[in-house]
């Protein structure tokens, strides 16, 4: 079975400071990893994904994520946070084969960026 852990329910950061939202995963075989963002009363918006290749993945709105196979982690990062980045962030994982192509989502991390 595949699973995702987002150990922090909430992350607080000051505007202009770097941010990190943590994600660890468990899956059989090679992982496909995703980050989505959700604004209040809206659907999930795709940010970035890791399939293979470079461990540092760049995505939308200046976000990036670092894949670490030995630590089974895929942390989301941004060098300089904006107040408008405040939202709910979801990490998701699925396997690369074996018949199930459905991603499993974490519980989400609320990011609050203070002015």
């Amino acid at each position: 079975a595949q699973s995702v852990a987002q150990p922090e329910d909430q992350v607080n950061v000051a505007e202009g400071n770097p941010l990190t939202v943590k994600c660890t995963y468990s899956v059989s075989g090679n992982p496909y990893l995703f980050w989505y963002v959700q604004y209040p009363n809206r659907g999930l918006q795709f940010l970035l994904k890791y399939i293979t290749g470079d461990n540092l993945v760049k995505g939308s709105y200046g976000f990036e994520a670092e894949f670490n196979k030995s630590q089974t982690s895929f942390h989301l990062k941004k060098p300089s946070a904006l107040v408008s980045d405040s939202a709910l962030y979801f990490c998701a994982v699925r396997g690369s084969g074996g018949g199930s192509y459905i991603p499993t989502f974490g519980r989400g991390t609320s990011l609050i960026v203070h002015p």
Binding site: V4, F34, Y36, N41, R42, G43, L44, Q45, F46, K49, F90, S100, Y101, I102, P103, T104, F105, G106, R107, G108
Partner: protein, 111 residues
Amino acid sequence: DAGVTQSPTHLIKTRGQQVTLRCSPKSGHDTVSWYQQALGQGPQFIFQYYEEEERQRGNFPDRFSGHQFPNYSSELNVNALLLGDSALYLCASSLMVDTQYFGPGTRLTVL
């Protein structure tokens, strides 16, 4: 290029009633997945449709059923509604097993 669209935006029903939610996938996508997102939780997979057939199903009772039409749009039906069915229902579309893109969701409230 329109993204994933869902209707209605909000819906209020009473226990025991039936509801139908609708989804139109992103242009070029052929696969539709449905998720239930309860307050404070991540999306939980209900089922996925491809080529008008249910390809995979999550841990949801038979009260939850669906359909995919030849134009790839999809419906989610829930019978005998329970209070616990109150949630945001999300539709996601993809090209086969590629990245899923989500619609804005339908907020269902069961009274």
